[in-house]
Amino acid sequence: MPAVFTLLVQSFLGLTALGIVAVFLTAHFSAVPVKYNLKSVFIRWRSTVATVVGIALVVLVYVLLQSLAVGIEKSNASTGDPRNILIARKGATAESSSLVTRAQLRTLQYFEEIERNAAGDPVISADVLTLASLPRKGQGGEANVLLRGVTPRGMELRPQVHLVAGRWFSPGRREIVVSRKLAGRFANFDVGDTFKTGPTTLTVVGWLDGSGSAYDSECWMDADESRSVFEREMYSTFLVRPKSPEAATNLIRRIESDKRLQLRAESETGYYQKQTLTAAPIKWLAGFLALTMSIGAVFAAMNTMYAAVGARTREIGTLRVLGFHRRNVIATFLLEGILLAMLGGALGCLISLKWNGYTTATLSVESFSETVFSFTITPTLAAQGMFFAAALGFWGTLLPAVRAARLPVISALKAL
């Protein structure tokens, strides 16, 4: 069923795109001057403004909601280092639902595919991921925050994370470094503050910045301290740096095929790029709202264009008498409707830029924790918004344009 639905949507979009291209081609090769449309549009400026504003609002909602999804996807897509390999329990779909043992860590340390540092130690980080329910700032209740226990090597493996205030935590102490973006949303996250999680009190000693990555939604502390605080025997995942791309391929194959390990390995960037579940409902919501609102916008465009056809009946008759074909009349009105709608689309896109980069948060479906991200309005998204507007103009104008073309020439000429 979803495949049929997707096919229908794709066919509809394809048909719309073809229609719009056909309108522009017909208008270009045989048409009434575009100046005629532009000047005519502004004669009935009240209905023009109402239509433009209506379409601008629809495009604004569509672009903003899609920009949330893009923000989440971009946050995940920019997370990780392509050289790193993330190792989790077989069957685990997310880091937070994975558990790996110290025995597995000891086994991995002898794999020759893994890079060694100057001291001859394998470059492996064993991370501990836990969720803590913490109070938001103000009266916002509580929300889950992802706490990552990392080793010093884990910090070296993630150079995109850097300190922006205070200092890093000291191993053996109940200290934590929180994301600067989370600090704006949770109580007691200023440097020097303390907060309780279970029976333990943690002191905030610094703020980290994840450079727009998923790490902006995390708080970091010492891995062993984390295991101690949260009484964990096991780690959650391992992050390793192979010696070379070939070694990485071999390492993944070796881990996946070793039945004793029961582990799954993939590139760190690949793992985060697949964490798209959180964005999916937002995309659906954007599509649903856009579809619902677009029905109203199509009728607004239709109303405006029916009025335009009614007011210009004699002009249509004159054009037909002078030798313009029915297809020219259809093209000129469709072009007018599309240009009108694209004006609304451009306005909607321009207004949406006001929110570009604005940071917000939602519950991550993967980690069940607060995930922060920014409204991200890309050129592709703006182009989608403009296409959406053009499609509204096309479908809203089609019936009035066909009506204009089918007007009997003689009665059109006699219209007042």
């Binding site: 045989s30 048409a31 009434v32 001057p33 100046k35 005629y36 000047k39 005519s40 004669i43 004699r314 002009e315 008759g317 004159t318 054009l319 037909r320 008498v321 002078l322 030798g323 313009f324 074909h325 029915r326 020439v409 003689i410 000429l413």
Partner: protein
Amino acid sequence: MAPPIVSIRDLSKLYRQGDINVTALNAVSLDIELGEFIVLMGPSGSGKSTLLHIIAGIDRPTHGSCRVQDTDVARLNESQLADWRNRNVGFVFQSFNLIPVLTAFENVELPLLLTGLKASRRRQQVTTALHLVGLIDRQHHLPRQLSGGQEQRVAIARALVTDPPLIVADEPTGNLDAKSATDVLEILRSLSQQAGKTVIMVTHDPKAAAYGTRQLHLEKGEIVA
């Protein structure tokens, strides 16, 4: 002797109004020579405008043939008729029918946009047509900035610009004062006498009719004189 430019044989046009058939034209036959200035007269409902519309290819007969030059207009389809009108007929209407948002120049240029001519050639033809009607100095004015007589002269320039052999005018002086009407009729007469165009004009005004080389009176769908 040259063949007639318009040759009409046994032409009838019936309209359906509710349950009754109305005969607008009844078995009309007529030849019009090249360069003639034909005036169609008659009371309202006599069929003169219907005859004009059929000759100009914007209406179809119910029966009979209407050949203009070598083309039987009645046999052309909608699309062919549009092309044919663009090449062969210039129209002048009682209420001018200019596009209000376009300048005089742009209005005159409209029929040329369908011809595939280059912009420079179009500009040349539009300028010539506006010169002919004495309105080159008003080429950048919008219709609302022109008097009724000037608007009608722009409409004549638009009718001329593609150099069609046939000019049809449906009560072209009906909305004009006496002076403007005379100017318009002089232009139409010179088109017939000096440029060799065939002009067919519908009018109720006997003074206007006097400009024609031949007057045809219609009553109840038939030519009576």
